[in-house]
Symmetry: C2
Subunit: 298 residues, 2 copies
């Protein structure tokens, strides 16, 4: 594979184009709700999670399984769940953030009530999107829905967010911090990877390798994010930086130090790449994403 | 069928017993979130929606399809979605209610942040519960997930809630009010019925009859609720009554008058019962529920 950057940009464009077709209705009474949904859903963003789903599908796929509408649906659904979590996390009762991706947060524009509903709506319709997919055996779609719900629910992302609230203003151990990050961010990134793999029919050792890759980059991503919150400029991050320290949030730099954090993230990226050693060059985009995650500037 | 009240009580106990087994974990970091979830999920309540799912399954079923764990899972999932909607609707940014089912609302006990997360968690895990069901063809479970997500999402319940916000402090037409109620309450009640029917293998005219029944009782239920908000005592309702008027919410009594509202609800219950004319006495509990919905005192 020669043009990895081109590959990733192309995949991101596919995701963006698909998301653009969503919540484009119709009943005028829902217009403002749908506008609030689209405001956050189409705000750009790196689209790391859905691109991981597509790239994982392609890494595990064969000629019988070209990129299909079903895979795009699952990828888009995961981005919708990610977007819902950002909208709810930004609320005054949660992180109380005014800025996201360089623009006012959803509740700053549409008010708290509509922001809560926009998040609810994105979460709900993510499952609708997958349930209405075709061209993939129902039993696999059902399995993927179960995985995504488990990764997002009380023992996954939502549990991680609750842990985050619990840990605020408190000194915690490195083990607790890893536990927090694996749930708050890691679970959804991991399931982005395994969903793509399962849609391509991966199982056994192949699926396990993808799972290891997903776990490693999931944690690496959040550590890199913590580092960027300390080092990144506000312009690059599209949100106020240094915010974690202001809120006395537990982060890798605050617990293990900045340099150790960078080393940990780089090691995890390396571990992720090693997990893929049994896969051929169709997994190169995944290898590239692992490198990108720990070297990105925003 | 001789003892309908006994039948309904027994079904409600089955739902309660199943819900009692949920969110009973494990990781101490999630303990407070799960406590918040269980606080609202196990607060009693009439369990109308899940009982409708069970009764619809039994009305359409045959000897090949006894009440199974899968049907209970779908019924419980719908109650979880209903509970999430109550928690979020009660939030200060939404209806700002202090009392629900005779107890302080979720955010009054656990704070707004955890209440938002408890709702998110219930919504997410409802889909997990169904995805992990077995004994039913995957294609039917997938169809039911799609129906439930559509009934709860932006063009269903969440859309209805957005409409409710839009209509506050504003005079609206009877047509708009019906549109509002059909979305805010009707969609989820209708899907409680059709999910049970689909799990029993209903299709064609039988499924259409169940759909008509569900639509009629869905609207009847909300009209009866509006009437109770005017007439019911605080003790009977388990929440402050007269609240709709205080918030200048559009209701049937405020738009078409109290007596006309009662007539409309009774007519809808009758219409619901007529929809079931092709079904035998196994549909008696559904007929009884239609009568109960418009005669209940809370």
């Amino acid at each position: 594979m020669t043009d990895l950057e081109g590959y990733l940009n192309e995949r991101r464009r596919m995701v963006d184009a698909f998301l653009e077709t969503q919540f484009q209705l119709a009943d005028p009474h829902f217009a403002r709700l749908f506008e609030a949904v689209r405001y956050s859903l189409l705000a750009g963003g790196k689209r790391i999670r859905p691109v991981l789903t597509l790239a994982s599908f392609e890494a595990c796929g064969d000629l019988r399984a070209p990129l299909s509408d079903s895979v795009l649906r699952v990828a888009a659904a995961i981005e919708m769940i990610h977007t819902y979590s950002l909208i709810h996390d930004d609320l005054p009762a949660m992180d109380n953030d005014d800025l996201r991706r360089g623009r006012p947060t959803n509740h700053k524009v549409y008010g708290e009530a509509l922001a809560i509903l926009a998040g609810d709506c994105l979460l709900t319709e993510a499952f609708l999107l997958i349930a209405k997919a075709d061209g993939v055996p129902a039993v696999i779609l059902l399995d993927v829905i179960g995985d995504i719900a488990a990764a997002s629910g009380g023992s996954g992302m939502a549990g991680g967010q609750a842990m985050d609230l619990e840990f605020e203003h408190r000194k915690i151990s490195p083990e607790d911090l890893e536990h927090l990050h694996r749930h708050k961010t890691g679970c959804l990134i991991e399931v982005s990877v395994t969903s793509g793999a399962k849609l391509a029919g991966a199982e056994g050792g192949r699926l396990q390798a993808m799972k290891s890759y997903g776990q490693a980059i999931g944690l690496a991503f959040q550590i890199a994010d913590d580092v960027l919150d300390v080092e990144g400029g506000e312009e690059e991050m599209g949100k106020a930086t240094g915010g974690d320290a202001k809120k006395e949030k537990a982060t890798y730099p605050s617990i293990v130090g900045l340099e150790k954090s960078k080393t940990l993230a780089a090691d995890l990226a390396q571990k992720a790449i090693q997990s893929l050693q049994g896969l051929d060059d169709r997994a190169d985009p995944l290898r590239e994403i692992a490198r990108y995650i720990v070297s990105r500037r925003k």
